[in-house]
Amino acid sequence: MKVAIYTFLGLLLLLAESSLLSFIPVEIFKPDLGVPLVIYTTLFLGPQAGIIATLFIGFMQEGLSAAPHGSILFVKIAIFLIATFLKKKLYIDSKFSFAFVCSGFVVLESLLYITLSLLAKGETRNALNILFYTIPNAVFTGFIGIFIFSFIEYLNVRYLDRE
């Protein structure tokens, strides 16, 4: 139930980002709204919920992007696996530590993507472009992550049982 609600929230956020935020002329403001949801479901609801949310969000993001087939899903699944294995090492006690973790995973996502492009296709053309946006993306995702975390916690307290 929870994973369905969070995934639906992810769907709405991604659609809103693609359509509503397009009128903002600043190209640098493009947080990765999928990362906070993947991290939250994986760390707080467990791997089964995490894989469902990751698969859904990965496909959604690829559907709304011109990225090559499989690329976004690959990095999202890699993030899910890393988060699963680091579950006991990551200590999230507030929205700020959650935001910090989200930012870190966005940086990791960019690096993974560059490595994937380099190793699988030998592509270097987009690497500089991806690096250019890595830090702004991480900062904005962390910032938005604070609100996403607070909203999910509010949903948990107000409407859903906390686990």
């Binding site: 397009s22 467990g46 791997p47 993001q61 011109a66 690959f74």
Partner: protein
């Protein structure tokens, strides 16, 4: 046990997506089918979501105007607010009318060869420059069809689903367009940089090209018809090492503010 199953499933998906990324034929076909099924589901939702965008942007514009009006006319605030809102609506309508008229003229000149479409979204990642339009295979749009505005070229359709299509904009790093300078025999490849300014590649230092020259599509890349405006030369640097000049190009269209586009049938 359940956790292990989730991890095994994740690893299998990881391998599948990697094979799809590397264009392994069987995996690409299956992956594309699943992905386009997914995209077809979100297409109508995206269209629906794009509706409030007009409202948001008109409220945004109205608010910007109202702030100025408040400062000038504090006493007549309420009256002026409503008048300005009315005015805003009229000027918005006039602007839209002008824009649509230009599009209509273009369509009338090129009957049956273009499909008008509305921009409903843009790429979620700033790594790629792509816009999403509200017409897809149901409207006879196919991959590699060029997309333009009356001001100039926008890009080409790269992924087409039933309800919408993704258009790779010319400033994407994967985009290149064969262009020539207007009235000159200088040709080059217009390549995207991922930023607003594009690069004109493979133009020799002694080729005839100057700041302010207009670039038109040459029609030799097999995608864009000949003679469409592509951009204007803003810098020419002949002092760098090598045989080619370093040339920056500003496209004619602002890709962040596109509302309607035309897809050219091929």
């Amino acid at each position: 046990m359940r956790n292990s199953i989730a991890i095994i499933v994740a690893i299998l998906i990881l391998i599948t997506s990697f094979l799809a990324f590397t264009n392994t034929p069987i995996f690409v076909r299956g992956y594309s089918a699943v992905k386009s099924g997914f995209s077809e589901t979100i297409g109508p939702m995206l269209k629906l979501m794009a509706k409030p965008m007009d409202l948001v942007s008109s409220v945004f514009d109205s608010y910007a105007n109202l702030v100025g009006a408040k400062k000038e006319n504090a006493e007549l605030k309420k009256k002026l607010d409503s008048l300005l809102l009315e005015n805003q609506k009229i000027s918005d309508l006039e602007r839209e009318n002008r824009r649509l008229r230009t599009l209509l003229n273009f369509v009338e000149k090129n009957p049956k060869s273009v499909i008008g479409a509305r921009v409903v979204g843009e790429d979620l990642k700033n790594w790629y420059k792509c816009i999403i339009i509200d017409k897809g295979s149901a409207s006879n749009i196919k991959e590699k069809m060029p997309v333009i505005t009356p001001r100039g070229i926008v890009g080409q359709a790269v992924e087409v689903d039933r309800w919408h299509a993704k258009v790779m904009v010319i400033n994407d790093t994967n985009s290149s367009v064969d262009v020539s300078a207007e009235g000159k025999d200088t040709r080059g490849l217009l390549e995207g940089t991922g930023q607003e300014v594009l690069k004109l590649k493979y133009v020799l230092k002694n080729d005839d090209i100057e700041i302010g020259d207009k670039l038109l599509t040459s029609g030799k890349d097999g995608i864009y018809p000949k003679g469409l405006p592509a951009g204007i030369v803003i810098t020419v640097n002949r002092n760098k090492p090598g045989i080619f000049a370093d040339i920056d190009i500003m496209p004619f269209s602002n890709f962040k503010h596109l509302e309607e586009v035309l897809v050219i049938k091929r």
